[in-house]
Every structure is written in structure tokens, then in C-alpha cells.
């Protein structure tokens, strides 16, 4: 049963994408969109139950373990939320001419093809398939980033495809090196690229070649994950993409790349000892947190702000994996989930505000609370959570990452981390407060708030608040088992 689900799961979004090509009606397209995402979500839950009760399952090049499951659940939840959000967002975007009604089918088909490649990424056991799927996410999402078709969108799309393709060329090179090291112990053939097979011989692998391989992979998939200094594509792509796509990029895609790095981290930790990959994580994590800060403070474009903020949070996840140990790793995995959910919520809320004011400039978006009280409240909630205010979920995971660092006495890293988090806290709340309060501009649309974006946002906000107040036993168990996969 669970084995069948492994290959059915990537087929669901693929089939949904093909189904999109059969009609041009916006309502039917939206219905297929929500339906396909709901099926993906339901099947993911079934698979999660199977894995929770009877352990990891494998079928050919695909395999699901608790680590992959954390990311798969994130993909499924956010895809569903994005589909619900898109219903109302699209109606407005078509009405004002931001999206042309004639090309909607290709937009929806691409979104689901993008989701399909991400599902393969998190389910792949074979490191070669992981790479192929990762490049697949680049190709599908690059078209989506440039979807509006204007000059800025295409510029962002070009920068995105070039930077991440060079990046993951490095990832492929690293994969080849690790494969070479593993082939010396496990024979050639497709099996020698399987992560679970390599893990069995990992302690025997030559540390020298694994070390170089891991650095190539870190730089390569790190570019895709938005780790500084390879993050240059990220703010452009996040600001230029249609809002639902921005939410997918920031919420899920960069997390999938992190999963890729974690897979190699476990191999490197077994071959060269855990200290080496941890150091590499820490270097890139600290760089990301530091580099993102000034750009967050000086930003006027709300979607670029959220983009740079993703760089910071990917940095925090990297710090969590770098501090390591059960606490740091658990914190990093929880942060992956928390940031994914919260950042998607923030992009949704920002997207509705942008639609209302017709601009991304935060100096123009004022007094949102007066024209869209529910949306503004959700935007404030998301901003408070992103800034790390208790009792929201990000506060909990940041605290866990910090405790992981204290446990391993990384005092310098902790000091830098804390200073940056405090500075960003102030900067982010300043920006969000200015948007929510004050006198609304005369140009702002005063239409009533559409139900579907609100529903999607409330769904995400509920998860965000719940994970902040208490971590349910099932989620806790999943994260603990996933931590064991990483830490061993």
C-alpha cells in the first residue's frame, strides 16, 4: 500500500497539470487546482500514517523516511493553501489585467509540474534522481517567475535560472565525487547512487574525496536554498514572481534544497566525522544571517523584504544543523516547518495588500487596518511571528536552535545570531506596523475582502499559532524520528 503511494504521489500533481490543459475556463481550472492539491494532501496524510506505524518504505529510486516526510507534509500543506488562495487572487489579477485570461491553463499546469518536481525531490532516495528533480524545479519555476512577461520579471527569471543552474552544476559535481567514493565500496550501477545504500558503507568512504564532494554540494544546493553569498537570485525571483509562486518558492522550494544538503550531510558526517559538515553549515548560516540584515532594514519593496527575510531564516536553519546534536537538529527541522508556513502566510497577506494598493512599495501601503481589517490582522500576526515574538511558532524553533548552540558552546555564533535577530525584529515590526496602521491612502481599494485568500491565510495562521502553543504528539514524534535520521 505505502509502496504504491510512493509512485502515485508524484503522479497526482503531474496528472493535475495535464488535466489543466483540457480547459480554458477559470472556474474549472481553479476547481481542478484545489481538487488536485486536496488529493495530494490526503494521500500524503495516508502515507504519513503508514510510515509512522511501520517505518520507512522504499520502491526503486524513491524512498520515504521520517526526514523526507517532514518536507513532504510541508509541500502538501502549502500546495493546498496556495491553491485555495489562488482562487480569489486570480479573480482579482485577471480583473485588473495582471494575468491574461487566455494563458491561465499554462500557468496552472506549470504550478503543478513545479509541485510534482518538488515531490520527487523529497521522495528520491537516489542522489542522481534528487539532482534531476532539483533541476526540474528550477526549469518549471523559472518560467513561473517570469510569468508576468514584463522586463523585470524576465530579468529576475534569467538571473534565477543562471545562478541556480551554475549552483546545482556544482551540486552534480559533488554528487559525482561522492558516487566515485561509494562505487569503490559498493560496485557501480544505479544502486551505488542510492542514499540508503551509501549510508550503509558511509564510514568506509575516503574522507578526502567526501569532504570536497560535500563542499561542492553545499555551494551547489546552497545556491538553490538561498544561502548567502549564493542568494543573489532570491530577492529578485521572490519579488517578481506571481504571489502564489513566491509563497511556494519561499515556503517549500528552498527547504527542498536544504533537504538535499542534509542527505549529503549525513554521508559526510559518517565519513569524516560530524564536526566537518557542522562547520560548513555554520559558515554559510552565519553569512546568510549577517548579509540579509542590512537589506531587510533598508527595504521598501514588501516582497523583496520577505525575500531577504527568507535568506535570514534559511541561515537560521543552517545554524541549527551546524550546532547539531539532537536539540539543534530538532530545532532546525521545526524551523523548516514553521518558517515555511509563516512565510507563505506573510506572502499571502502581502499579496492581498499589494492588490489593494496596486504597488509593492511599503511607503505607499499605509493604513491597511482601515480598509481590510482581517487581512491586516493576519499580516501583523505573520510579521510578529517572523520577528520571533512568543507565543508564535518561530519563537519556539529559534529558541531550540539557540539551545542547540549553547549545548555545544558556540558562543561567537550565538552572539552574532542574537544581535542580528534583535536588529531584524525591530526592522520588521517597524515595516509591518507602518503598513497596518495610519491613514489609508485615497487610492486604496475599499472592496470587501475575498473569502478564499482569507480561508487559506486562516488555515496557515491556525497551524502557526498551534505549533507555537504546543507541538502535537504526532508532529513531535515525527520530528524526533527525523532528527534520529540526521543525527544517527
Amino acid at each position: 500500500m505505502a509502496e504504491t503511494l510512493l509512485w502515485v504521489l508524484p503522479l497526482v500533481p503531474t496528472f493535475t497539470a495535464l488535466l489543466m490543459l483540457t480547459t480554458r475556463d477559470r472556474r474549472i481550472l481553479s476547481a481542478i487546482d484545489v481538487g488536485g492539491s486536496a488529493v495530494l494532501f490526503a494521500l500524503t496524510l495516508v502515507l504519513a500514517r503508514e510510515v509512522a506505524s511501520s517505518g520507512p518504505r522504499a520502491l526503486g529510486v524513491l524512498r520515504v523516511d521520517d526526514l523526507g516526510l517532514v518536507f513532504l507534509l510541508l509541500v502538501a500543506v502549502l500546495t493546498l493553501a496556495v491553491s485555495i488562495y489562488t482562487v480569489g487572487w486570480l479573480r482579482q489579477a485577471v480583473a485588473v489585467g495582471n494575468m491574461s485570461a487566455g494563458s491561465l491553463q499554462s500557468y496552472f499546469a506549470l504550478v503543478h509540474a513545479f509541485v510534482a518536481t518538488m515531490v520527487v525531490t523529497v521522495l528520491s532516495d537516489n542522489l542522481g534522481v534528487l539532482w534531476i528533480a532539483m533541476e526540474g524545479t528550477t526549469i518549471t519555476s523559472a518560467v513561473l517567475v517570469g510569468y508576468h512577461g514584463h522586463q523585470h520579471g524576465l530579468e529576475a527569471a534569467w538571473k534565477y535560472i543562471i545562478v541556480t543552474t551554475i549552483g546545482i552544476s556544482f551540486g552534480l559535481f559533488g554528487t559525482v565525487l561522492i558516487y566515485a567514493a561509494a562505487a569503490a565500496h559498493g560496485g557501480a550501477g544505479a544502486g551505488a547512487l542510492s542514499w540508503s545504500a551509501i549510508m550503509k558503507v558511509a564510514p568506509l568512504l575516503d574522507p578526502g574525496i567526501v569532504r570536497i564532494g560535500f563542499i561542492f554540494v553545499m555551494v551547489g544546493y546552497g545556491a538553490k536554498a538561498g544561502l548567502a553569498p549564493m542568494h543573489l537570485w532570491l530577492p529578485d525571483a521572490h519579488s517578481q514572481a506571481p504571489t502564489p509562486v513566491s509563497a511556494l518558492l519561499s515556503g517549500v522550494l528552498i527547504k527542498c534544497a536544504l533537504l538535499g544538503i542534509v542527505r549529503f550531510q549525513t554521508i559526510a558526517a559518517a565519513a569524516c566525522g560530524p564536526a566537518f559538515p557542522a562547520e560548513v553549515w555554520l559558515v554559510f548560516g552565519l553569512t546568510s544571517v549577517v548579509v540579509a540584515t542590512p537589506f531587510i532594514l533598508a527595504q521598501h519593496d514588501v516582497k523583496r523584504l520577505l525575500g531577504y527575510h527568507s535568506v535570514e531564516h534559511v541561515g537560521i536553519v543552517a545554524l541549527g544543523f551546524g550546532f547539531g546534536g539532537p536539540v539543534g537538529t530538532y530545532g532546525a527541522l521545526l524551523h523548516v516547518v514553521n518558517h515555511g508556513v509563516t512565510k507563505a502566510l506573510a506572502f499571502f497577506a502581502a499579496g492581498t495588500a499589494i492588490a489593494r494598493y496596486g504597488t509593492r512599495d511599503m511607503r505607499v501601503i499605509r493604513g491597511l487596518l482601515g480598509v481590510a481589517p482581517i487581512g491586516a490582522t493576519l499580516l501583523m500576526l505573520a510579521a510578529l511571528s517572523l520577528a520571533g515574538v512568543p507565543p508564535f511558532s518561530i519563537f519556539v524553533s529559534e529558541l531550540l536552535v539557540l539551545r542547540g548552540g549553547i549545548g555545544h558552546a558556540h558562543w561567537v555564533a550565538i552572539a552574532i545570531f542574537l544581535v542580528m535577530v534583535v536588529v531584524i525584529f525591530a526592522g520588521l515590526l517597524h515595516h509591518a506596523g507602518a503598513m497596518a496602521f495610519g491613514e489609508p491612502a485615497a487610492a486604496a481599494s475599499r472592496e470587501p475582502e475575498a473569502w478564499s485568500p482569507l480561508l487559506a491565510m486562516m488555515l496557515l495562521a491556525a497551524i502557526m499559532v498551534l505549533l507555537g502553543l504546543t507541538i502535537p504528539a504526532s508532529v513531535d514524534g515525527l520530528l524526533r524520528r527525523a532528527t534520529e535520521v540526521v543525527v544517527g
Binding site: 524576465l154 530579468e155 529576475a156 552534480l172 565525487l177 566515485a180 544505479a190 575516503d206 519579488s239 519593496d301
Partner: protein, 218 residues
């Protein structure tokens, strides 16, 4: 074929590959860079065929054939088509002078040989000097992307970089598993098509090279 002859042939091919890379880096016109990358792909295909003959690995024959068709013929043809459609014959404008690029390239090659020399025990499993050449090609491809100012030079650099990875994979492990190599080539073709469409789209709307656009900042 004895191991000695095999090593000699792979080393010679490696030297020729580095030579084509220098041609790409020093190309004054985009056409020359495209021909050079086509020649480079042809050499990779030959290397695959030589290794296939020496090891009797059937997968390598397939990989060599696909490389020949896709990377030595189809992709250069796509690039050529884009250049014709863009109707530009202008010089490749380097960001830094060609002499400086070549000096950097020499440094990269020396560094690659040094790096793989530190990998003592693994070196045994690897055919001749293929590993340093592979690392050098991959990094020089990235250098070509970084110094080339136009979208097409960036694409040429990307393909050259991919060639380096393929050469490494062939020499180090007799190629990655066939199914993976096919998947990788498929991705490269799709990426090339998407890039070509973007280049032409920008050309037709704002009459500029997509790589020259620099409005997004801060």
C-alpha cells in the same frame, strides 16, 4: 587496449578539452565560442567511446552517442539559431580583458591539479589525469559565465561546465548510471530551451540582451 594506452588517450583528450575551453574563454565572436563548445562536446563523446571500448561497458556507448547527438549537434544548433534570430554579430564584450581571463584560467587549472594531488588514495581509482581536468573544466565553465556579458556566452559557459562534469563522471566512475545520465541530459535540453525562449522574448520586447538588464537592485 592496455591501461597504459587508455591513460595516454584520456590524457590527450583532456589536454584537447582544456584547449577548447581556452578557445571559449578567448573567443572574440559568439560564433567561435559556439563552435568551440561543439568541438568540446565532440571530444567528450570520443572520450566516452574510448572508455566504452576499453571497459566493454555498453552504457558508455549509449552515453557517448547521446552526448554526440545532443551536446555536439543539437544544443550548438539551438544556440546558432538564437544568434541568427537575434540578428547580432557584435563582439563578445568581456567584463574583464581577455588577457586577465586567461591568467585566471591558468590559475584555476593549476589549482585543480593541486587539489586532486591532495586526494592521494582516491587517485588510484581514477583514470590518468582526468579528475583535475574535469575539475578545471567545470570551474572554467563558470569563469566563462562570469566574464561573458551576453546571455549567449553565459549559456555557452554553462554547457562547457556541464561537459566538465560529464568528463569527470566518465573518467572517475565510468559514467554515472545510464538512467541518471539521460535524466541529466534531458534537464540540460529543457533548461537550454527555456533560456533560449527568455532571450528571444526580451530581445523582441525591449531590444536588449537579457543579461544586460540590471533594474532589480537593493
Amino acid at each position: 587496449m592496455s591501461t597504459h594506452t587508455l591513460h595516454a588517450i584520456v590524457d590527450d583528450l583532456g589536454a584537447l578539452l582544456l584547449f577548447t575551453m581556452i578557445l571559449i574563454l578567448a573567443a572574440g565572436q559568439i560564433y567561435r565560442a559556439i563552435y568551440a563548445v561543439a568541438a568540446q562536446s565532440l571530444l567528450i563523446a570520443i572520450a566516452g567511446a574510448v572508455l566504452a571500448k576499453a571497459t566493454g561497458n555498453v552504457d558508455l556507448w549509449v552515453i557517448a552517442g547521446i552526448t554526440l547527438v545532443v551536446k555536439a549537434i543539437v544544443l550548438p544548433w539551438v544556440l546558432h539559431w538564437v544568434v541568427r534570430r537575434m540578428n547580432v554579430r557584435r563582439e563578445v564584450e568581456p567584463v574583464i580583458p581577455v588577457a586577465a581571463t586567461l591568467a585566471l584560467a591558468v590559475a584555476v587549472v593549476v589549482m585543480s591539479f593541486h587539489l586532486s594531488a591532495t586526494l592521494g588514495p582516491v587517485h588510484q581509482a581514477i583514470t590518468g589525469n582526468a579528475l583535475p581536468v574535469g575539475i578545471a573544466l567545470t570551474l572554467l565553465g563558470v569563469l566563462a559565465m562570469a566574464t561573458g556579458k551576453t546571455a549567449l556566452t553565459q549559456m555557452v559557459g554553462l554547457f562547457a561546465s556541464e561537459n566538465g562534469i560529464f568528463f569527470t563522471a566518465m573518467a572517475v566512475t565510468q559514467g554515472m548510471p545510464l538512467i541518471i545520465e539521460i535524466g541529466v541530459i534531458l534537464d540540460v535540453i529543457l533548461a537550454a530551451l527555456v533560456m533560449a525562449i527568455m532571450v528571444l522574448r526580451v530581445r523582441s520586447t525591449v531590444d536588449a540582451d537579457i543579461a544586460d538588464l540590471d533594474r532589480l537592485r537593493g
